[in-house]
Symmetry: C2
Subunit: 489 residues, 2 copies
Amino acid sequence: MSDDKKLTTRADNFSDWYNELVLRSELADYSPVRGCMVIRPWGYGIWERMQRALDDMFKATGHVNAYFPLFIPESFLSKEAEHVEGFAPECAVVTMGGGKQLEERLVVRPTSETIIYSMFAKWVQSYRDLPLLYNQWANVVRWEMRTRLFLRTMEFLWQEGHTAHATHDEAEEETRRMLGVYRTFMEEYMAMPVITGQKTDAEKFAGALRTYCTEAMMQDNKALQAGTSHNLGQNFAKAFDLTFQNEAGQQDHAWNTSWGVSTRMIGGLVMTHSDDAGLRLPPRLAPTQMVIVPIWKTDEERAATIEAAKRIAEDLGSFKRPDHERIRVHVDERVGIKPGAKYYHWELRGVPLRMEIGPRDLASSSGMLVRRDTREKRSIAFDVLRTELPVILDTIQADMLAAARERLEANSHRGDITYDRFKEIMDGPGGFVYAGWNGDPAVEQRVKEETKATIRCIPDAEFRSPNAPTTCMVTGEPAKYEVIWARSY
Amino acid sequence: MSDDKKLTTRADNFSDWYNELVLRSELADYSPVRGCMVIRPWGYGIWERMQRALDDMFKATGHVNAYFPLFIPESFLSKEAEHVEGFAPECAVVTMGGGKQLEERLVVRPTSETIIYSMFAKWVQSYRDLPLLYNQWANVVRWEMRTRLFLRTMEFLWQEGHTAHATHDEAEEETRRMLGVYRTFMEEYMAMPVITGQKTDAEKFAGALRTYCTEAMMQDNKALQAGTSHNLGQNFAKAFDLTFQNEAGQQDHAWNTSWGVSTRMIGGLVMTHSDDAGLRLPPRLAPTQMVIVPIWKTDEERAATIEAAKRIAEDLGSFKRPDHERIRVHVDERVGIKPGAKYYHWELRGVPLRMEIGPRDLASSSGMLVRRDTREKRSIAFDVLRTELPVILDTIQADMLAAARERLEANSHRGDITYDRFKEIMDGPGGFVYAGWNGDPAVEQRVKEETKATIRCIPDAEFRSPNAPTTCMVTGEPAKYEVIWARSY
Ligand SMILES: [Zn+2]
Ligand SMILES: [Zn+2]
């Protein structure tokens, strides 16, 4: 498909828009293996930047990286009852190895609690060995029937944190800390505002005591669960004999946490910011932050504008801001492609800034700078690029977060909402509905069946409504919690 | 096993020494899955530094990262005849997914030529789309019967570069360029000297036109193949219809290269530098470059020495040298463990520098600095640490390479060596034997059967002997090549 065909618009068909955009911006492609995708360099460049930022944050909070096997003996999965129930149906299973049938079948990890805590059990003897604060960057496989690029794929890339602690409270603190790290990352890097809160029992991780999550709102007003952090209690420690001698000299089971985010975030990034012309990437995650398009008619002009563009790219690339990284600049010097087609190309790919340099600009030592997010245009002198570009990039980053935050609030419904009105919202514009819930799983199940909406979370205090509803939206009984309802990915 | 038990010595049993060292220095551990290992944080920290350095070098030579599926349809593997012959016997095969038998079985990638070139075929139309210069960081699985920690494991981590070019010569240039990158990395980061050269047909990659390799010598005088770079010719392009329209307007098959290094390098690092007291890590790859051990008797002394140590660590950690990275310092403030036990602990783990700070040192604002490689001791004033430590670390790095180079040369046998003498060397001290070969695969096979030695490579010009042998060591016929024989891992 060539670059000049228009995308389906979001209003026309959000789902088609998303798929076309991911493919045409070359973030990813379908692969010959059903349900598995190829992450192309432009998509992987975003993932690399996500990894780097998160990894630095994990290390700053005391975590170390390690690597555990891809394969898990089938018997391990069964040791924690809820866990096996949750994951066994979606496992890929290796039954043959080296040309022979295996005695014990191996599951391709859908998540690594079982194998990791079996190793922790080997390494931990005393409270002095705790806490263990581990993280792993890895691929995992879950056999999904309906897949969507980035959002739900059979194989995906993620990080999974796994920790062991001496007490419940320490584990709880860690679980909440990492949820906070995710929130910070999503807001400050992805420019994607999220609600943090706790999952209901029906929605929690298979084997966890409590699951916390970050929920973001996409442009079609559906929710995307972007990250989860689990307090696993002593469930896995009991299943895998992860015990330690406590300070009092007694044997005790350790307390575990696990937490993860994945390449799914790239889908969230796309659906949070992009428009009908293509991606809009926040500067901190954009593989290229500014593209320079030299404009020429004659060979002489071509040589001069390309030379100027390259000099600028080199100067900016070698300039290290004290608090940030180098500015990532690309010069589009392709021959035989019109400037307009180049603009289109880079708009589709979401590069935050474009600078056009023609012969007349060159004469005044300036370029025409265009913001991808607002399409705002201004002339900028070459000699202020070093000082002004960092400010402009920071402004774009902040503006994108503010715009997304505004959209989130505009599509959040608070106040006394009847169940009938709720159904209208879900069948109409969608969005997040803050409502009272009596805490009964049967009510949760009924709403899900009738409206396809689920409780996204019991929001943390700072996200609760100033006047929280006092009665259950469905039964009229006293509300036990204020919860957020939405349809979701 | 506690830290104070002595390691088996290299002289006693090199293989036991290696296994014990890898386990006790906590580089890795055995896992519950046969043949798969766990890479522990200390080992993974080395791998992360290897990744970072290589990744920077790949990007500096124009490559981009991407990610392709873990699973490969079984039929793909069969499309290149030599390739399937080489890899099919060592594949892990997924036959079940989502609780059902699969229609087409999926192979867990042993390497990704087939899946990657099938995607390249989709993306490349014209010579303008070439070259494609891709790299992927990934896990791969090869069903090995006899495994060794890092050296040969069922699953391992690696990078695999995959490129497509318009001409044979461009592909050949790329193949050689990446071999050069590997050599530079191994010498400058691992402080591990290598011989570069070409594999014989018997030893080349399944499906390649030519395979180039880097060969290092371990302390038991056996060879370790540390990296390979393949010119794949048009073999895979023909199998996967990777065609393009060339400048003359005709359809042509692309030329591919692939190249890879893996966590096996960590095994090479251990066997190149370590001694009977433990690891010796080159400073550029050491997760911690200096450990500070505060020494105290009274609580007051404890507070004072720890405080000084932390101040130094912080100062060095925040000090960015213009050409290098931050100095990585750890303060061992553990209570209840004697200084001697701490020295032992960090020697075992190979930290290049140790600084002891006792109350008397503190009084003179200096510490006792001990090099892990030479065990050399000297007093160093706190106020010259910033300027002197970088120099000392660079010196250690250079000294380690020089020492390894000397050992390599000392155990290389050149000149006219009879086949009888050759057998004596192989059954005795081992090492690299430079000898003439008539080019006949039957001779190569015979020597392998009789001596367990293989041709490691036909060395590149700069590694050839000044007076290269003119006759074949085995047959006495005229030599076609000078080759290097050795037993290997
Ligand atoms: Zn137990
Ligand atoms: Zn063909």
